[in-house]
Amino acid sequence: MAQAIDPANTFRQEAVELLAQLETTLLDLEKAPDDRGLVDTVFRALHTLKGSGAMFGWDALAAFTHHVETTYDLVRRNELKVSKELVALTLAAADHIRVLLDTPDQADKVRQNALLASFRDLAPGRASAPAKAAATAKPKAKTSSDDDARTFRIRFRPGRDIMQFGTNPLLLLDELRDLGTCTVTPITDAVPPLEEIDPTACYLAWDVVLTTKAPRSAIDDVFIFVADQSDLAIEEIPTDPEAVRERRLGEILVERGDAAPADVEEGLSRQERLGNLLVKSGKVSGDRVASALVEQQHVRGVAKSKEVTSSAATIRVPAERLDSLMDQVGELVIAQARLMQQAMSLADPLLKSISEDIERLASELRDTTMTIRMLPIGTLFGRFRRVVHDLSNELGKSVELATEGEETELDKTVIESLNDPLVHLIRNAIDHGVEDARQRQALGKSPTARVLLSAVHSGAQVLITIEDDGKGLNRAAIRAKAEEKGLLSPGQELSDTELFSFIFHPGFSTAAAVTSVSGRGVGMDVVKRTIDGLRGTIDIASTAGKGTAITLKLPLTLAIIDGLLIRVGGEIYVVPLAAVEECVELTREQDHRSAGRSFLNIRGEIVAFIRLRQLFEVEGEPEAIQKVVIVTFGEARIGLVVDQVIGQHQTVIKSLSRLHRDLEGFSGATILGDGSVALILDIPHLITFARDRETMQRAS
């Protein structure tokens, strides 16, 4: 439909039809004054004229019709009889409505008032109140004048049957979350035993602490449809730093009416954690205490952010102190592992609970320390502007450097080690990647080439991408060079990923001329080694004529990782958990079937595996059921056959001694709870090893 939709036009048409219908019905009604159906029809016509009229700008029409409608509402409710006078008056009113529809400006005010007076005379004492323009469900505009955020405590216990009225309470919580910083605690104390649960009923309640700049009415609006069916309490709570310091858990519980002051006093007199005590004594439910604690935290957070913004508290600390802090946290994690081991073997519940507390504290301390060590990568990106500027001048190319994601944070050590690899990659992009201005113009590209340096978080990794809009990698040249160097047998089929990975081989350069900048094949292998050392990976994507994108995937931190402990023979090793995809069993039967081939069928996919017993030359009989840990690295995927999968372990990475540093297959070591040393498996290396072996077997 080319015509724009205009409901106002539709209404005009509709109103004309309704008025015609009104007239015929009124004439019928005059003959049959007791016909309920006719009265309803008249009422509906008036009602629609009023309702739709108000929607599309006919305010005068809506206001006038409202009074006529009210009269017919009385008729509908048998409080007024249909009379000849009423019908005549309504017909006159219909004429007036027609005027109000077509030319509202020329409507005769005197006539209108006379009509209304007559309607009033027909139903004395029942005169209708003027139509109010109030709209209940109107979402109020957020007033920005209220600059200071306020914090509210919202206790929301929806009616059991709320969902049978089509309300999804979770959407209401989402709506609250849109209003500001929101902490939601579910209250589950009303949930009955499973066999008594009515799945259509809502047993949950929620305590919400919300800090918002929106006015109080915005919160009321969220609950507008459910307020009368729910227990709902919305109160403002103070968040001034002074007030917050004063408010203890006990005070909050009393203030919220969840606990009696006497109970709190009694609890306090016995030197134990008040929350535990109150729960144990059965005076307050665990959910309620948890919810009060959440409020305490939320409010503390708000108060703290107020304090922080007021003083912009930053202190400079020498980097070495942070390094030694990290070391100490590492030692703490190791000591904690020992404590845990001891607690387990003594089976002492008290010691175990202390050990669990310390474990929680240690991991929080670890996370905090790590965030302290984080720096925005922008500090690094800034240095490259100069590199690009100098290099493009030297090579006579016009190149513009764009950066994205400067605020992405990475461990300080990782950032420092990234400088050289990134300089190499940027040089390569400018020297090999982009064409000079004349070539670019001939190709219809903008004369100024663009190199984009971007960083983004992805899970526990940071992706750094160097992207140029140059000519892309030359597949034929790489293949020729690889064949020349004997890395590839002629005619061998390779995927792009495999082919591109040759550029990381030492001494591999396809540049026709050696420039002062690059072309000597020094660099990419160094880049690869540095990234490997950071436990990162490199992906290359390239489209001929369009450009190349090199993505570095780096772990957020170097010092402590989550590991999976495995046992091979009598020794324990660590597999970085990030690399683990799944663990499966390798029964003797399957083992026989796979005999010599070292392949495993996992849900229809063929996965090569390495027997670590064989690789590490472990003597003796393997376990009856061997386990296979499936690990991935980039796109590659292999299985590691081990004797036992022990479990997760916070792994503090220690570098290997100078003597063992060049040992292949291990990236470091860690200290276990019992004080013994476990080696950390170098997954990328093992995958390469497996692939090479495969190629060798295929060749032989």
């Binding site: 409901p7 309803d40 629609t48 929607m55 109030a134 209940t136 469900a137």
Partner: protein, 122 residues
């Protein structure tokens, strides 16, 4: 994700058009019906994620349609919003008793309509 489908039931063509246009522009799919009976028939023949209905309609009133919808298993939990005028406080109560989820007071503008739809449909 599939578009959410909303059933608009109103005997006023201009309101139907305004509701449909507003919601379609916001990315919803809209099915319309001219009165309660029509609405009930539509609701039985197609699955909808929300119903927006007028109350005063020929053949079957909005209230009666809501009552009947709520007896259908497929409509036990579907949000149903009624359009009322400010003078119909009594109607609002009746609608609630019949199983309506919420209400929008006429006259309303497109933003108000969308705010209510967003509140009830994920």
């Amino acid at each position: 994700m599939a578009k959410k489908r909303i059933l608009s039931v109103d005997d006023s063509a201009s309101i139907r058009q305004m509701v449909a246009f507003t919601l379609e522009t916001a990315g919803y799919e809209v099915v319309t019906a001219n009165d309660g009976q029509d609405g009930l028939d539509r609701a039985k023949s197609t699955s909808v994620d929300m119903v927006i209905t007028d109350l005063n309609m020929p053949r079957l009133s909005g209230i009666d349609m809501i009552k009947q919808l709520r007896t259908l298993p497929a409509f036990k939990f579907v949000p149903i919003v009624m359009l009322t005028t400010e003078s119909e406080e009594r109607k609002k109560q009746e609608g609630r008793a019949a199983g309506a989820t919420g209400w929008i007071v006429k006259p309303f503008n497109p933003d108000q309509l969308l705010a209510v739809v967003k509140k009830l449909v994920s």
